[in-house]
């Protein structure tokens, strides 16, 4: 968003006033406290939106007192428009993509489409644990890519618990759920809209949907295969021993009725067509005339509205299911980061990042990726991605040109922010969902228990990603 401040017609992002070092350090401490609080979210028993909202409020107040904040009015298209400083601070493109896509997915899931696909795959596996792991693993990756990784984990995790119960294979449940949880973050790398860090960094780097997919898909394919094979080995998931066991398993999975969740066949097929159209529209947004000016957020909201027509009298039930905590969190986060930018905190972190980058195109980029992974393992990867994308955008290239979408540094942040989430249960929202389902199923898994089981997967994935970004991409 390029908005110039009224009167002086000064663009927000170009204001680089002098800020005393002590003031910068004060705001850096506030940022560190916010990140710590987010890491301790579970202990604080407070929602993300409230935590970051409070920090946004304090940051804004202190910013108004201590910093030369660009209060309005703002000049948009030659018109002076008065609005609070925290409104243009928010990246509304990101917010609208998340809001529209989540509404679209919610309404589409009511058609029974996703459960139909999930159950058909279960039946296709014939109830054999190894084939089931492949089916659910691939489904997790695809659902994570097309929907989002949290929804994918919820759908596949719920089905896994029910189907393994039916097959009498509960001893494999932990291995299945952990492997699926780890695969959500692999699937989250497949498209631009698969995870929030992708949306944030992709928007900042101006990466198109198709370009993102073309660059990330080879890695996703390899990492998926390796993760599933590791899951089979480490969790001792084996195929059925004989024909009798296979026949019994086929009989058990045949009891699933994929049509049970379909309220209306007409709406089912409409939802299937709309899902394909949605993917095509999102993928071609950057080349569609007029639509490219409106952005992916418009496409996502537009598709959500079309789907809502089916429930025109009950749309409020879908408004209630929107993750307002997540949206509030993003809104407040953008405000905090905007204030940090004015307080020169991002510039300060950028100096540290520049030192890493100065290690060279290989070592520097690799260090950025590993550091991003490490940070996103212990804290929320969304503020990290938002902060790093803003900082990297501000670091000039050696030739002084704008950093292109193909620059490995962007991809180091994207891969690091997604894959780091696999190191700990709090590293990403989808692994947290996996752990929640594990606990709801009465299985014991501590924080360190998760780390011990997940670390081999995460380290292999990060190692492959480093090789991929530095030598192949």
């Amino acid at each position: 968003m390029r908005i110039a401040q009224g009167g002086g017609a000064q663009a927000l992002e170009h204001i680089v006033p002098h800020v005393p070092f002590g003031t910068t350090m004060l705001f850096a401490a506030i940022l560190a406290a916010m990140i710590m609080s987010l890491a301790l979210e579970e202990k604080l028993h407070a929602k993300k939106s409230l935590i970051v909202g409070l920090f946004a409020m304090v940051s804004l107040l202190l910013g108004a007192i201590l910093l030369p904040m660009p209060f309005g009015p703002y000049s948009i298209g030659g018109h002076d428009i008065a609005m609070p400083v925290y409104i243009p601070a928010v990246d509304w493109g990101v917010i609208t993509i998340i809001l529209g896509a989540s509404l679209f997915v919610d309404v589409t899931s009511r058609s029974g489409l996703f459960t139909w696909i999930a159950i058909r795959l279960t039946k296709a596996s014939s109830g054999d644990p190894v084939r089931l792991l492949w089916a659910y693993g691939v489904m997790t990756v695809v659902f994570s890519a097309v929907l989002n990784n949290v929804t994918a984990m919820i759908i596949v995790g719920s089905l896994t618990a029910v189907s393994l119960d039916r097959l009498g294979r509960r001893e494999m449940l932990l291995g299945f759920l952990l492997t699926e949880g780890l695969l959500t973050n692999i699937g989250g790398l497949l498209t631009l809209i698969s995870s929030v860090p992708n949306i944030i960094v992709g928007t900042a780097a101006d990466i198109s949907f198709v370009s993102f997919f073309m660059r990330s898909s080879p890695f996703v394919l390899v990492a998926t295969v390796i993760t599933i094979v590791m899951g089979m080995r480490l969790f001792d998931i084996r195929g059925l021993p004989d024909a009798e066991a296979r026949a019994a398993a086929v009989e058990l999975v045949s009891g699933f009725d994929e049509n049970d969740g379909i309220e209306s066949p007409g709406f089912f097929w409409f939802a299937a067509a709309m899902l394909i159209l949605f993917i095509v529209a999102i993928a071609t947004t950057s080349v569609l005339p007029y639509v490219s000016d409106l952005g992916m957020g418009f496409v996502a909201i537009g598709f959500a509205l079309i789907m809502l027509v089916r429930y025109k009298h009950d749309v409020d039930q879908f408004y209630r299911t929107v993750d307002w905590d997540l949206l509030g969190f993003f809104g407040a986060l953008f405000v905090v980061i905007n204030v940090m930018e004015h307080a020169q905190v991002l510039a300060l972190i950028g100096i540290g990042l520049e030192r890493m980058i100065a290690l060279g195109p290989m070592l520097g980029t690799g260090t950025v990726m590993v550091a991003t992974s490490a940070f996103s393992a212990v804290t929320d990867n969304i503020p990290l991605a938002a902060m790093l994308s803003k900082i990297i955008a501000g670091i000039p290239m050696a030739d002084g040109l704008v950093r292109p979408p193909t620059d490995p540094l962007w991809w180091a942040v994207i891969f690091g922010a997604n894959l780091g989430g696999n190191l700990t249960p709090i590293g990403s929202a989808s692994t947290l969902v996996a752990v929640t389902i594990i606990h709801r199923q009465g299985l014991r898994l501590s924080f360190m228990g998760f780390v011990k089981k997940a670390a081999p997967f995460a380290l292999v994935q990060i190692a492959i990603a480093v090789v991929y970004v530095l030598w192949i991409l």
Partner: protein
């Protein structure tokens, strides 16, 4: 995590309990009466004629115990243990005049239904003038308040249905228990009473319908020469059961009597067995 619940529910609902057809092999039938030997033979003959369907695909061994062979419950149990029948046929109030008062089954039948694993066919008392002829099993009603997964009930009911006869599968959900829960739900502000009523009612009946659908398919696949009628409803158990039996002019009512949690007969089976006296009852 409400979405986890939401999807878990969707998948649990999609996970159906299919019916497995398992042909019932009876082997031998023991007719138990308190009558003298000759009358007992006549009674056994009438029973054999009534149950002619059992001869379908099976050579049944028929034995009779007459009144002179036992005078106590242990003696009868010993006779049964010796014969090891696949089915016991008898009537209420053996060695008793209490058959005139429709308040109990009599001590012998009470014990027989619970002390042995053998199904007991309870026929109308020979001294009680029957309102209807007990001649065949053209109309068999298998009835319960929870049919899903009750393969045994359906298999037995199918076994007793005469060729080209009608097998009525009836699942009657207890409306009183349902209303009791709805009354409680109606007092919880965070739960939408109307939504809950509509959804629970729908789901409750749908599961039973799905199971019966699978019964119909499996029985047809097995090539049994019978027609199946499905009844899934809510109602006051006893009156609804009686209505279904009366409206269809049923020849035989099949129901469960065993309860893993108690020694006495399963809750609803006892009052039904006591009150539905005009037609034969197969107590599993």
């Amino acid at each position: 995590m409400t979405k986890v619940d939401q999807f878990a529910s969707v998948f649990r609902a999609a996970s159906k309990t299919p019916f497995h057809y398992d042909p019932v092999q009876i082997g031998s039938v023991l007719v138990v009466t308190d009558q003298p030997e000759v009358e007992a033979g006549d009674f056994a003959g009438r029973v054999r004629s009534f149950l002619s369907v059992l001869e379908r695909g099976e050579n049944i061994r028929w034995n009779t115990v007459h009144g002179g062979q036992f005078s106590t419950v242990p003696e009868l149990l010993e006779l049964i243990e010796r014969d090891r029948p696949g089915l016991i046929c008898t009537f209420r109030h053996l060695h008793s005049d209490s058959w005139q008062w429709p308040y109990t089954l009599g001590e012998y039948v009470d014990v027989l239904t619970q002390a042995t694993s053998t199904p007991v066919l309870v026929l109308p008392h020979p001294k009680r003038p029957s309102e209807r002829a007990i001649t065949d099993t053209d109309m068999v009603v298998g009835m319960t308040d929870h049919m899903v997964g009750d393969d045994a009930l359906v298999n037995w009911a199918a076994r007793f249905t005469a060729d080209d006869g009608r097998l009525v599968l009836a699942n009657v959900e207890d409306v009183l228990a349902f209303e009791r829960f709805m009354e409680v739900v109606g007092k919880i502000p965070s739960i939408s009473t109307d939504d809950v009523r509509e959804q629970i009612e729908g789901r409750l009946l749908r599961d039973a319908k799905d199971y019966m659908g699978s019964c119909v398919r499996a029985l047809a696949k097995a090539g049994l020469p019978l027609n199946v009628e499905e009844i899934v409803t809510q109602g006051h158990h006893l009156s609804e059961y009686r209505r279904i039996v009366d409206e269809r002019d049923a020849d035989l009512l099949v129901m469960n009597t065993k309860d893993d949690d108690q020694l006495a007969m399963h809750g609803l089976a006892y009052p039904l067995a006591v009150e539905v006296r005009s037609i034969p009852l197969l107590l599993l």
